[in-house]
């Protein structure tokens, strides 16, 4: 087992690291007939992202392919060498590469639920219990709500599971359908992590070019946050928290202003909201730096100032994806206190199970 590198260059809690699995890796954890469907019939989940061209190695950093040719993110020692030990991570939170959402499963809920369970067991045994620095995410098939809750009950109390990755499907996240999942999340001190944003909108269409999809990632985040706030999710579940992963943060001041103004005009439609939406966001929602626009110090501080809080953003690399943000180069030079908050303390204060 690896321990924290005492010669850490930076004290970092990285809230978005993608470990990667092959079906073969999952066989050990997958019951029949699901395993046999894959082994005997060569079943594969529909690959629903229609883009492979963003970089010289698809959506991954070309230098993150494991030297023996296995996919980027699939080997713990190589990830330790290239990321955890090299940069000197204090903690890293795994956000996976599997999306068990039925938008890609064509309604085969049983298979999706079984895959999510196998994935969680694989993640715990091969990553969380092999490196003290790594924490994980509970994968669920939210379309099978009872199955999803059983899975949260089964692995949610694992001390290194810190959040539930909720797939984005054809219902927005404020919908009462999801409320029992939020209840289970609260019970196990798990936050809701938003990362499975493929496709980027709940009505399921893709733009023609990758550059459009990647530019518009924040819009899917804005939709879900808006929907959760006005549907009263945080009034009904006062301990629930939401981490918005891989949407960036520069849109946040706009969203705070917009929702506050809308609330002033249209309160009568959502009378269960008693506070300004921006106050709900400050208390319940955090955003990631990645993918970070190139901001100089003045611009970066201006965004923080407009948020009215320096506690709302956490650092993420998104390793091993092509748009990885280097902890050394992606952010401008910041004052030590602010740097400490963004690189580690904001995440530490926000994840109930991360100490």
């Amino acid at each position: 087992m690896n321990n924290n590198n005492p010669s850490s260059k930076k004290r970092i809690i990285d809230v978005d690291i993608h470990e990667s699995v092959t079906y073969k890796d999952l066989f050990k954890y997958l019951e029949n007939p699901y395993r046999r469907y894959i082994e005997d019939a060569n079943w594969i989940q529909e690959k629903h992202m229609p883009y492979t061209q963003p970089s010289v190695a698809g959506v991954n950093r070309a230098d993150a392919v494991v030297p023996d040719g296995r996919p980027a993110g699939s080997d713990l020692p190589f990830m330790q060498e290239q990321l955890l030990d090299d940069i000197g991570h204090e903690y890293g939170i795994l956000t996976g590469a599997l999306d068990p959402s039925p938008s890609s499963m064509h309604g085969w809920y049983e298979m999706a639920t079984a895959l999510a369970s196998a994935y969680n067991d694989w993640q715990i045994e091969n990553w969380l219990e092999k490196d003290e620095r790594l924490y994980g995410s509970v994968h669920i098939n939210a379309e099978d709500r009872d199955g999803a809750i059983r899975e949260i009950e089964r692995v949610g109390s694992h001390p290194k599971m810190v959040q539930i990755l909720l797939p984005i499907d054809d219902k927005m996240w404020g919908d009462p359908y999801y409320h029992p999942i939020y209840e289970a999340a609260q019970k196990h001190d798990l936050m809701i992590g938003m990362h499975h944003n493929e496709p980027p909108v709940y009505f399921g269409k893709w733009p023609r070019y990758f550059i459009e999809w990647h530019s518009l990632l924040p819009t899917s985040h804005m939709m879900q946050v808006t929907n959760m706030i006005f549907n009263g999710v945080f009034e009904k579940f006062p301990n629930l928290k939401l981490m918005m992963i891989e949407g960036g943060f520069t849109f946040v001041p706009h969203l705070m202003w917009k929702l506050d103004q809308q609330y002033n005009d249209l309160r009568h439609e959502v009378p269960w909201i008693k506070r300004k939406p921006s106050e709900i966001m400050k208390e319940h929602v955090r955003f990631c730096t990645q993918p970070s626009e190139e901001l100089n110090k003045k611009d970066f501080l201006s965004v923080i100032d407009q948020m009215g809080s320096d506690e709302m953003i956490c650092f993420a690399t998104d390793y091993p994806h092509w748009d990885f943000d280097s902890p050394h180069r992606s952010l401008p030079s910041l004052d030590p206190d602010l740097k400490k908050k963004i690189f580690s303390e904001n995440a530490r204060a926000f994840y109930p199970k991360l100490k």
């Binding site: 002033n264 309160r267 009568h268 300004k276």
Partner: protein, 118 residues
């Protein structure tokens, strides 16, 4: 002290709004269902909408998402432009943000006539 006689108390129905002038100031007079009168500036503090063209209505209230209770019927002054709600029974405070309120004017009933003062 400026004053303006608005109307006879029976000229306005409960839930009715009426515009009046107090010198050069436009004022909105409200009669609530309990027969009380209130007067406020006739310009919304948000963007200046003419409140006398709005409505004295009620306010949905709730403690649980998806559930509604309709309260204070006839006591909430709602702007005709952006819909901001002001509680005439609470000194004209805005429901969404009670830190803000409409400037108000005293109203007196003398010999069954409604009079606003400044």
């Amino acid at each position: 002290m400026k004053q303006q006689t608005v109307c006879h108390v029976n000229d306005m129905q409960p839930g009715e709004l009426r515009e009046t002038e107090l010198g050069r100031i436009s004022v909105v007079v409200c009669k609530t269902p309990d027969g009380e009168f209130y007067a406020f500036t006739n310009k919304c503090i948000h963007q200046g909408g003419p409140l006398s063209k709005g409505k004295l209505c009620g306010a949905p209230q709730s403690d649980n998402p998806g559930e509604y209770t309709f309260c204070q019927d006839g006591e909430i002054l709602r702007c005709p432009w952006h819909g901001r709600e002001f509680n005439v029974k609470d000194d004209g405070r805005m429901l969404a943000n009670p830190k803000h309120k409409l400037p108000s004017f005293p109203v007196k009933i003398e010999d069954d006539y409604v009079i606003v003062y400044k």
